[in-house]
Amino acid sequence: MPGKLKSPKELEALHKKLAKGLETDKARVSVCNGTACRPYGSNPVVEAFKAAIDKKGLADKVEFKVTGCHGFCERGPIAIVEPGNIFYQKIKPEDVPEILDKTVLNKQVISRLLFKEPITKAEITAQADLPFYKNQRRIILGNNVRIDPTNIEDYISIGGYSALAKALFDYQPTQIIDIVKQSGLRGRGGGGFTTGVKWESCRNAHGDIKYVIVNADEGDPGAYANEGLLTGNPHSVLEGLIIGAFAIGSHQGYIYVRNEYPLALKNITNAMEQARKLGLLGKNILGSGFDFDVRVNRGGGAFICGESTALMASLEGKVGEPRAKYTHTVEKGLWDRPSDLNNVETWANIPLIINNGADWFKKIGTPTNTGTKIFSLTGKVNNTGLVEVPMGIQLRDIIFNIGGGIREGKKFKAVQTGGPSGGCLPESMLDMPVDFDALTKVGSMMGSGGMIVMDENNCMVDIAKYYLSFLEEESCGKCVPCREGIKRMRQILNDITSGAGKESDLPLLEEVGHCLRDSALCQLGGSAPNPVLTTMQYFREEYIEHIKLKKCRAGVCKDLITFSITEEKCPDCGMCVKACPAEAITAVGKRKPVVLDQAKCIKCRTCYEVCKLGAVKIE
């Protein structure tokens, strides 16, 4: 690696040299080894490529890149072969030699590994043509495919750190703030506060020492957008942070990474070391005279630490309890000093805005919600993964065009956005634009970008109970409404889902919910009732069924359902008999259906899962 870069010219020279390296005739294979591809076995695929390239002596003919998340996690492990933008999915290590022989060396496409349109069965070769990608606008995530996140040269080769050079040498700090303000960028962590205004307040706050912080404590269960970004393109976040520090007048930054993200932690730590070596971080950055350094802190496994004041308490080495924000953290934050905290995704937007200008950014999205937003599209949708869409897109577009609709031809029931602070929206709201204000208006939230799709087999009362159980455990326990209120609401929902609910439970839930909204100390408590209140608003009939008819239409609430075996459909194959962990199913005799003993049944659903003929019925 070259030594310290002492001027923007030296950076530009390095960029040119590295960019030239990209203009080769060499084939390129880029394999996703993001966290979500790993459960599918992407590691063995990567190893297989390395071994095969070595064995076949192809090192001069093919450039092999292990990258972060490509987004289409559902189809992992994934590889893209250039030229041709050929998208291979669900690759196994056995497929690797064939990919090298046929596609890389002879430009033949292996149709077995292509994505097939679920309905028309048409094969799609190029990544850009897949409906999953075609309908997105991947200004931030798009680069994940092009770079090895552990190599700073890859980032520089595609123009990385040029925005930093521009910011340091072409602009005054206040000009940068103006550009960010003009871009209309709003905080991607969920609150949606205007980033430029926040920066300005922090810059103007009294004090010589100021801090900038990356909030990478993505605790929202079911959301992993920040993980994908920090793991797949750590330098973009770091570059944004350094620019922000310069604009605000800070010389020390912190990156607070969630404990459950070991790969993100590794990649950002590595990125910082490399940036330091190249003089992009540390003293006298690029010869500008500006000093700035960063420290990484690991979270300890607490959802509440995503809240800015709790995160700062944790950075100070204390228990992650939030405090009232009547004095803003931009004035009195970490160690009572002015501190600007932004989400991973917010920081990653900064280099793009500096390089392309506020007007370019404003053209994406809507006038009050500019730019793109990354969502982790998960749950009962066909194409799960990380998607990046322009703000203002309709929910329906995301779920049906990009997400490819509901799995197994089932019926859409609800979409949850904003995690434990958000709400569940019904079918009738699918034409709503996705932006900060619209989502808040209907009782949900943008949050950090979780988007969980639910179908007819999901019980909305159970979902509300799930979020409350989550919050009950994650509440810091400091204030009465959050600590006691969530527990009581969860107990009421327990009663409802176990058949002991009363009609008076519903107004009581609402009353506690409103008290939490009004009087909880922080946003975790204040927004905790959202999943309950929205499901009660949009799916009230399910609550009433649970209470009055003792019925769970989705077949989820264990105390309200029974499993039985339909005689006509049962082939007496014995699969369920073998699989049942409670020995509740017995075979009566040859060619006779099996019998399920209700007294022994623990409702674990195993029989339902193993029966290929749908003979197991849930009522």
């Binding site: 079911g222 959301a223 496994g301 979902i463 962990p581 674990c604």
Partner: protein
């Protein structure tokens, strides 16, 4: 043990604000937070015992009890929940004969749950050590565990 703890504290320059990271490193070293190590931290860094204990009990990542050789982590994030993550946890509890947080008698497994590990698209997910298992079903639980027996 004391040397290892001293080295960890030194690595962080005796910085009190790095207490969470220091406890993390101690846990990586010993697989849990041994009492003697915590006392050492308290003494060496001049942090009241009560504060170290508060921190160790506040964060979910820390364990004050000795844990098994393999940590089985079941994801209960929302994306895993809607695809039946709890049923996988039930199944693991049955097969290991312990409840969440428990360690098997042979000290081979400790069963824990986590609220999301950032690979939601592949839920339900279980992680054993550093290895991830996606799209889990009740049926896959036994063969998965057998790999570690």
């Amino acid at each position: 043990m004391k040397d290892a703890v001293t080295a960890i504290i030194k690595k962080y320059g005796n910085d009190k604000s790095q207490l969470v990271s220091i406890l993390q490193d101690i846990q990586s070293e010993f697989n849990y937070l041994p009492r003697a190590a915590l006392d050492k931290v308290s003494k060496k860094m001049d942090i009241p015992q009560s504060q170290v204990f508060a921190l160790a009990t506040f964060f979910r990542a820390f364990s004050l009890k000795e844990r098994g050789k393999h940590i089985v982590n079941v994801c209960l994030g929302t994306a895993c929940h809607v695809r039946g993550g709890e049923l996988i946890l039930d199944s693991l509890q049955r097969q290991l004969g312990v409840t969440t947080g428990g360690t098997t008698a042979d000290h081979n497994f400790t069963l824990e749950s986590v609220n999301c590990m950032g690979c939601c698209a592949t839920g339900p997910v279980v992680k054993i050590g550093d290895e991830y298992f996606g799209h889990m079903t009740n049926e896959k639980v036994e063969p998965m565990l057998n790999k570690y027996k």
